[in-house]
Structures are given as structure tokens and as C-alpha cells.
Symmetry: C2
Subunit: 285 residues, 2 copies
Amino acid sequence: MTELRGKPVADNITAKASERIEELKSKGINPKLAVIRVGARPDDLAYERGIIKRFETAGCDYEVFELPEDCTQEDLDSCFDARNEDDSISGILLFRPLPKHLSGNYIRSAVNPDKDIDCMGLYNQASLFVGTKKAYAPCTAQAVMELIHYYGIDLTGKRVTVVGRSLVIGKPVSLMLMADNATVTICHTRTKDLPEELKKADIIVASAGSAKMITGDMVSPGQIIIDVGMNNDEDGKLCGDVDYEAASAIVDSITPVPGGVGAVTTSVLLQNTVEGAARLNNGKL
Amino acid sequence: MTELRGKPVADNITAKASERIEELKSKGINPKLAVIRVGARPDDLAYERGIIKRFETAGCDYEVFELPEDCTQEDLDSCFDARNEDDSISGILLFRPLPKHLSGNYIRSAVNPDKDIDCMGLYNQASLFVGTKKAYAPCTAQAVMELIHYYGIDLTGKRVTVVGRSLVIGKPVSLMLMADNATVTICHTRTKDLPEELKKADIIVASAGSAKMITGDMVSPGQIIIDVGMNNDEDGKLCGDVDYEAASAIVDSITPVPGGVGAVTTSVLLQNTVEGAARLNNGKL
């Protein structure tokens, strides 16, 4: 059994991004991420700590803009506008979901496509649907693809079963897997016979967000499992959508949780922030 | 075996659209489609004749804007701009593919979302990806959904195999089927074992664009087949992606070609043009 760890993937992406940052800085261009956070949800704070660590390792600028949880729509939109218009910002990440009284609709249509490094805006969502290579995908979905590519997993003709149809993982990753010539089946809560759909897969991408829902008896020898889940088990311990202990004894290879896809996400965010700086300064290069 | 004919579906949509046109006209609103055609490809002309017939039946205005095949990008964009800005136009259809020297990129980003009744623009493509109910889908993909709904085919938990991953049918119809709770598998030219993927399906949506590629031995009793193909067979006769003669003796129900999905498309175009007028005049209603 091969453990598909995220760290070497992330290190590889980070090393390339660092080189590119040096190159851009030598031309007077300084990539910088703006993180917009409303309130202080523990999930957001944990992700933010990961981002800060990654960006500091790579020598990339960042700035966190925090708004109180009870801020107005006007507060949020103004905070966003300022970053969207600021030439020194090359990527904007807005933590979602937003509190219920706020809408992301204005941001979705107004965000500069070059700065929309987590694919929350119309332009990148449409481009992802169309299959334009230039589209930024949501960072976690892109992290799945980076991991697959890093470990040399050929997708052509492979049967991939994706569990979950969310906007940030299930849907975009399905489109990207298909663009790489996989035969994709997308399962969800209304799928009738999930074990059957899993059994026939060469590769399983688990992104349902339900702790250990994929049990040992649902997986088969030879399979590759990418577990995107980030859940807490009954003891409050971080775990994936797959019962790792049971599955790892059966399948060919599997990503651990933690230490798998989740470890790659912040490096994709870094990569895209650097790419954003290059795109925004295309005229100057 | 039930033949799933398009005519009653189209008639039903057309009747509703006609009623709505009367209602809108009584408020001084006049839906109108602008068809922009570059050159005179036989396929485009055939579709155009179908559109004219449908719109005349329904009492809906339309106008065809023809540009010579060797027109410039500026000619095309100006022709489009005029329709996009003209308040009397509520829907814009641009025949595609465009000649190779022309790009649809400007139109794609500039089209008024309310007039983008065939989903060529960013806003509707992104909305389709996100799953916003308000999105216009490409007319043929929407025609598949209208046919499925008209015949009372419940999609929840059903296994649907879609053959073809095109931007106008395969991809959008897969997203819409999934939104209706089907478990969707998307096959294409790189799929390894197409007969196997077809065998396990409850419903097959054939949109590969390859004459009679789905043969009798690939289908099973009980299946529902939606054939979106519009091809010419070896005798030059119009045929679908499915060998109708062979398949119809086996499956539960199937759409004929011609007379199936193709017969519904122009009624969807009509429906969307009327919807466009209502949306554009929302303030006035």
C-alpha cells in the first residue's frame, strides 16, 4: 500500500512558487494575497494559520482583513472593493460560507478574474465549465489534481467515482477529471447504490464531508483513494470520509487525513497568488 | 416500447409560451429573437427554418441578421452590440461554430445575461455550473430536460450514462441531471468500456454525434434512451447516435431521430426568448 502524502506535493509546488516569486520580484512585481475573513470561525482560523505558515515559508506577502461577524453588506463589499482595486494585491481569498445576513453575489460578479484565485467569481466558474486551461479552480479541487499529477496517476480511460457534488470540490473536480479523459461518475446523497458505484471505480475521490462513511467493505484491491474529507470522528479526532485504517489494508494507495489533500491546498493558493501577480502585470513583463 | 416523441413536448411548451406572449403584449412588451448568422451553412439554415416556423406558430417576433462568411471581427461584434443594446430584442442566438477567423470571446463576456438565451455567455455558464435555477441552459440540453420532465421520468437515484462531453450538450445536461438527483456517468471517446457503462444505466443520453454508434447489443431491457444525435447514415438519411431499429426492439422507451429531442429545441428557444422579455422588463411588470 502506498500512502499518497500531500507534503511532497506541497513542497514541490511551494519550491516552484518561491522561484517564481524571486523572478517576479527582480522585475519589481510583488505577489500578495488578501484574505478577507468575516468573524472568527475556528475552521477559518485554522485555514488562515496554514496559509500564513505557507506564505511565510515561500516569502510571499499576505494581509488578513478581518470584519466583525455582524458587519453590514456595505462593509463587506467596501472591504472587497478596496482589495479588488488595489494594484498591490494579486489574489483575493474570501472565507466562506459567509454569515447568513451577507451575500457574496456582488463580489462574485465584480472580482477581477486575475485575482480570483479560489474561483468564486463568474469568469473563472464559466471558464472551468468551458474547460479553459487558464481558469483558476477552487484551491481544494485543484489540490486533488496536483496530487494526482505529482504521483504520476494517469487518468485517461480510468473510471473515477466522485462522492459529493459541492461547488468547491465535487463539481469542479469532476469537470477537471473529465478534461483529463477520465470516465467520471458523480455520486451524492441521493445515489441509490453507493457501494456498487465505488466497487467499479479505479479511483475514488471522496468529498462528501461525512466522517468515515466509506467503509472497508466498499473498497477493492487495486484502487486509488483520494480522500478530501476533513471531519471529526466520534472522539473529536480529525478524519476523512474514508475509514483509513480499514481501507488502507485493502487498496493500492490512499491519501491520509490529515496529511493528504489538505496539506496541498495552501500551496495551490500560493501558486495561484503568484500566477495572479504575473497575469496582472502581463503588460509589464 | 414507448416512443418518446418530441412534438407533444414542443407543442406544450409552445402553447404556454403563446399564452405568455399574449400576456406580455397586453402590457406593451413584445418578445423578439435576434438570430445572428455568419455565412450560410446548411445546418444553420435548417435550424433557422425550424426557428422561423416555431416563432410564427407562436406569434413571436424574430429577425435574422446575416453576415457574409468573410466578415471581420469588427463586423460581427458591431452586429452583436447593436442587438445587445436594442431594447426591442429579448433574446440573441448566434449560430456556432463561427468561421475560424472569428472569435466569440467578446460576445461571451458582453452579452446581456437576460438575452443570452442559448447560454453562450459567462454569466449563464457560471450559473449553470453553480446550479442557479435562473440560468438559461444551452437550448438542446434544456430540450433533453423538458422531454424527461414532460414524460414524467423521475431522475432521483437513477443511473444516467451521458455519452459525449460537449459544451452544448454533454456537460450542461450532466450538471442538470445531477441537480435533479441522478447519479451521472459521463462517457466520451477515451472511455474504455462504453458497452459496460451503458449496460448499467437506467437512462442513456446519447450526445456523441456519431451515427448509430450505440448498437442493439449495448442496450438492455427496461432502459430509457434519449438520443440527441443528428447525423447522416451511410445513405445520407438523418439518424441518431443510437441504432433505433435495433434498440427500440429491446428498451423500454426511446426518442426517435428525427422527431425526438430535435423537435423540442426550437420551443425551448421560444420559451427562453419570452422569458428574456419578462426579465428585461421586470421593472415595468
